[in-house]
């Protein structure tokens, strides 16, 4: 490991934020696009470097640590940055999807492009900060930093119903964020550690523990707070609406990365610190996620006629698997969730991007008014079909190892729930393949023929292909070689690794 690596980690977070500040202070537009391109690329390169440098025997601890007191040191709040085995894949995900979303935004030709890029950069800086914060407070802080631009972007550049969607998203996500903030402060107060530093919190709680009754309510707060942010049924209604209205790069970053904040928080904070609370809530969470997210939302997704709404609902549905993995309260379950989070982040970002590319050529999101696009735009069709396959969970794409791991560990938790979850795969195959078929195959509908006559569709240029291929390459890499991620995840979660005594997750039968 290089001694400069902690500074590199800080640089990765600072670059987009500083670039955004410079652009907000009135940088001319033609420099702004260049600066934005650089500011999206630098964190991605740093993330790849840190991933390559991450020690093979990394253990459960954090690497690349650095700490700064911003003025709340007396409450044990310090800007402490670092990556452990769980944070590393998420950091990489944020950097890759951020780069893809940034490249796509640069070519999107949006109105008021400079403001759009500025907000995206703030979001990107926040996202990188979320996954590299060791301090629980800053973990929350960076999440909010990334969340606020989302609302503004939906409100300004959104599509149909943007004002309503922006307002609904704001209120729902604020509720979720406030509940989780309460939960985090409750951990801080109940642990008696007088520190928001996760390493210290783990050490203190491993020694003293939190009373079971407190654990129950704190886990409940976090579960519903984070759950709202991740669209846990029945608190999911903001998601399809918001994603339907959001501009493409925003949807990519939010659905792909920011939404994973809640799941990441549950795995990184709630499960290790509140094991008894987790056991108490496990079945309730599994029922909500299994029946609500997977089955109910699955059927609703099948009924969608609007491509973007369908993608929004399918993303809600796939979060159900992640919650099921968390409900297992086991190493394998949590590990599977991390793999699936990365995979889903890449695939859903790709799908949202391609959906906008489809819209540019068809001028509609209505599935009934499409068809036959594959003849005109074969590259777009190939990429879209590949992304759909990935999203369904076909072997060879990164989603498969994630889902498989979750299903395997879910079997130990409850075979019945596994049956529910597996039936979800069939549901997603039905809607996914049907949507791909409607858009690209068959013959074009009457209205589409008129649109195509007026604007003959051209296939994707390199400006669109580059971000798409980037995401697809990552999907394939982690699909064929999941060890690239799972090694560090395993070391961070497994009780066998040295120094793991502070991580009380075990593959154990459920308590009565």
């Amino acid at each position: 490991m290089n001694s400069l690596d902690p500074q590199l980690l800080q640089l990765a977070i600072a670059t987009p934020l500083v670039a955004a500040l410079i652009m907000a202070c009135g940088l001319p537009k033609r420099f702004s696009t260049k600066l934005a391109a650089v500011a999206f690329t630098v964190p991605a390169l740093i993330a790849l470097w840190l991933w390559k440098e991450y020690p093979a025997e990394g253990g459960a601890g954090y690497h690349y640590l650095s700490s700064t007191d911003t003025g709340l040191g007396m409450f044990g709040i310090n800007l402490k940055l670092g990556l452990n085995g769980i944070a590393l894949p998420m950091f990489l995900l944020a950097a890759i999807v951020g780069l893809a979303a940034g490249l796509y935004a640069l070519r999107s030709g949006a109105e008021r492009l400079k403001l759009y890029l500025t907000l995206l950069l703030i979001m990107q800086g926040g996202l990188l900060g979320v996954f590299s914060s060791v301090d629980v407070f800053f973990f929350y802080f960076f999440h909010e930093l990334a969340l606020i631009p989302t609302f503004i972007m939906v409100g300004i550049w959104g599509g149909r119903d943007r004002n309503y969607a922006a307002m609904k998203m704001t209120i729902y996500l604020t509720v979720g964020a406030m509940l989780s903030l309460l939960g985090l402060i409750a951990i801080y107060v109940k642990s008696g550690a007088n520190s928001f530093d996760l390493i210290e919190l783990k050490a203190v709680i491993a020694h003293d523990g939190i009373a079971a009754s407190s654990q129950k309510y704190i886990f409940g707060l976090l579960m519903f707070g984070f759950g709202t942010l991740v669209s846990l049924w029945p608190l999911h209604t903001w998601a399809p609406l918001g994603y339907g209205a959001a501009p493409s790069s925003t949807a990519m970053l939010h659905a792909g990365v920011l939404k994973k904040f809640g799941l990441y928080g549950l795995i990184q904070i709630a499960l290790p610190l509140l094991p008894e609370g987790a056991h108490w809530w496990a079945w309730k969470l599994a029922l909500l996620a299994g029946v609500g997210n997977v089955l109910v939302i699955g059927f609703i997704t099948m009924a969608q006629r609007d491509l973007k709404q369908m993608l929004g609902y399918s993303s809600v549905m796939h979060m159900g698997y992640c919650f099921l993995g968390i409900a297992c309260v086991s190493t394998a379950g949590s590990g599977g969730v991390v793999l699936l989070m990365v995979a889903h982040g890449l695939s859903v970002a790709l799908l949202f991007m391609l959906a906008t590319s489809v819209h540019h050529r068809t001028h509609t999101f209505d599935l009934a008014e499409m068809g036959g696009l594959a003849q005109k735009t074969p590259v777009l069709a190939a990429l879209f079909v590949a992304a759909t396959m990935a999203s369904i969970g076909l072997p060879g794409f990164a989603n498969f190892p994630g889902e498989l791991t979750i299903f395997v560990s879910l079997w130990k938790f409850s075979p019945g729930m596994t049956a529910v979850a597996v039936s979800g795969v069939i549901i997603s195959a039905i809607y996914g393949l049907r949507a791909a078929a409607r858009v690209f195959f068959g013959s074009p509908s009457e209205p589409l023929q008129r649109v195509m006559a007026a604007h003959p569709p051209v296939d994707m240029g390199w400006g669109e292909r580059l971000p798409a291929l980037l995401l697809l390459a990552a999907l394939l890499l982690f699909g064929f070689y999941p060890r690239a991620l799972s090694l560090s995840v395993d070391q961070a979660l497994s009780p066998a690794a040295p120094g793991i005594s502070t991580m009380p997750i075990h593959v154990s039968p459920l308590r009565p």
């Binding site: 802080f141 606020i148 307002m167 209120i171 604020t174």
Partner: protein, 504 residues
């Protein structure tokens, strides 16, 4: 009364200790003299003189921040300097500077006399600074009445506007009522302590340390408890706590915008400074009565403020009613200060962030308002971000900070209060506060929505409603607003300067 006694009192008259207040008052009088002496064409410089005088006093206070008389009882027990009192001095001076700045924006639009405005603002500020140092109920009441009478005049300053006169009358009647209630409480306390000195100088029954000792030994004295509750009720009027919040929307709307800002920031802060002093120095033994009462008050204030702000369209009323909810959050800090020693510092931290954000928003409001100062509707903000990106940006930062959105300073203020509440085990109050924050998102976000998101209009023939012309900010005005917004953002990231200064 012996000469020795008088000599003792005179020895404790350290005039230097209240130098800032005296210089401020003398400068305020000087403004009036300047108005008489200077030729009419030079009157435009007088506001600058006022601002300069305040800056000089501010610099003097900051330089002598760690004064030698800290904690000593001065003027025969009338005044006691304290670290938080010094913080309060700085706060009131900065606030009055910003109010004066707003005055330079708003007053030239009307025909009312201008110099008196700065005069009264400075006098009121000096009185507030004395109020928070007072250690004796006579001093306390005199300073408080000076503040209140100043506000009677300021609220009805635009005397040719009906709404302003209505606001002035409402404030006068309700303010006088609250002063009477408070005075009655003070008298009850004095009577309960019971050492009426026939000699005419009845100092003991008014002194805070004496009252504290008495209450400590007789925490269940009915008369004293009733007196304490009446005093708290009077203060609750000043901060606009439920059920004394009914005057707020009308007075905030009718008062000139700078005065609204003065009421919202300085008057509220003075109320909280007084409440903190009373709770930590005098009424501490009454904790079993006061904690449930203030808890109830805080919860009701948060609920009343937020829900009544939901349906408002006039931005001055929104600021007023949302200010009520901020008073509710601050009351949480006051309740927590019974058990958590640093809660008072957290309240001051919140007040500072509230001042920065509110003044930024009031500044934007001042530039957007037209001839009729009371007519400032949400609709006037439409397309502000497109037409005036700078004002739009400042508004977004200010409103976002008031809403408590990270990474802005307002969020840090709320966070510290919430942590204090957790330490004080005020879980019910926390739940109410979180609910309040979520409700507040709706109206604050509605404001940002009005400024940033362009709503869809039928294209053909539909006129957008008439709105007053925007005053273009001067260089100094733009810099002031930019500093306020920037400070709000920076404190969101780096709290070090403020927290170390407030001595958490």
């Amino acid at each position: 009364m012996t000469t020795d006694y008088l000599k003792g009192v005179a020895d404790s008259n350290l005039w230097w200790a209240i130098g800032p207040e005296m210089i401020l008052a003398i400068a305020a009088l000087g403004l009036l003299a300047l108005e008489i002496l200077l030729p009419r064409k030079d009157h435009r410089f007088i506001p600058l003189v006022a601002i300069l005088a305040q800056v000089m006093v501010l610099v003097a206070v900051v330089l002598n921040f760690h004064t030698a008389w800290m904690g000593e009882s001065l003027f025969g027990g009338l005044i006691q300097l304290s670290p938080l009192g010094q913080v309060a001095r700085v706060f009131f001076l900065v606030a009055s500077l910003l109010v004066s700045f707003l005055g330079t924006v708003c007053l030239p639009r009307t025909k009312v006399p201008r110099i008196e405005f700065y005069h009264i603002v400075m006098i009121v500020t000096a009185a507030m600074m004395l109020l928070v140092q007072s250690n004796h109920f006579v001093m306390f009441f005199v300073a408080l009445e000076t503040v209140t009478i100043g506000f009677y005049i300021l609220v009805s300053y635009f005397r040719d506007s009906d709404l302003t006169l209505e606001a002035g009358l409402k404030y006068l009647v309700l303010g006088a009522l609250s002063s009477a209630i408070m005075l009655f409480g003070i008298v009850l306390l004095y009577g309960a302590v019971g050492k009426v000195m026939i000699g005419g100088v009845a100092h003991t029954g008014f002194e805070f340390p004496v009252l504290y000792e008495f209450l400590r030994h007789h925490p269940d004295n009915f008369l004293a408890t009733a007196g304490a509750l009446l005093v708290v009720g009077g203060v609750a009027f000043k901060i606009g706590a439920f059920p004394f919040q009914i005057w707020i929307p009308d007075v905030y709307q009718g008062a000139p915008t700078p005065v609204t800002a003065f009421l919202a920031v300085s008057s509220k802060a003075a109320g909280f400074a007084v409440l903190l002093t009373l709770v930590t120095k005098v009424f501490t033994p009454l904790e079993p009565v006061l904690v449930p009462l203030l808890t109830l008050l805080a919860a009701a204030t948060i609920i009343a403020g937020n829900f009544s702000a939901l349906k408002q369209h006039n931005v001055k009323r929104i600021m007023g009613l949302s200010g009520v909810s901020h008073a509710g959050y601050l009351l949480i800090g006051v309740v927590a200060s019974f058990t958590v020693p640093w809660a008072a510092s957290a309240v001051w931290f919140y007040l500072f962030t509230y001042m920065l954000a509110s003044m930024a928003v009031f500044g934007v409001m001042a530039y957007l308002a037209g001839e009729n100062d009371a007519d400032q509707e949400l609709e006037h903000y439409e397309a502000l971000a497109r037409n005036r990106p700078f004002l739009g940006g400042v508004l977004a930062v200010g409103v976002g900070s008031l809403a408590g959105i990270p990474p802005l300073a307002g969020f840090m203020g709320k966070l510290l209060l919430f942590i204090a509440a957790f330490h004080a085990h005020l879980y019910g109050l926390l739940a109410v506060a979180i609910g309040g924050v979520i409700v507040s998102i709706y109206y604050y976000f509605g404001w940002i929505k009005a400024a940033f998101f362009e709503s869809w209009r039928p294209a053909a023939g539909a006129e957008s409603p008439a709105k007053p012309a925007i005053t273009v900010p001067t260089m100094a005005g733009a810099i002031t607003l930019a500093v306020l917004a920037l400070a709000t953002v920076l404190i969101g990231f780096f709290q070090q300067p403020l927290t170390s200064w407030l001595q958490f």
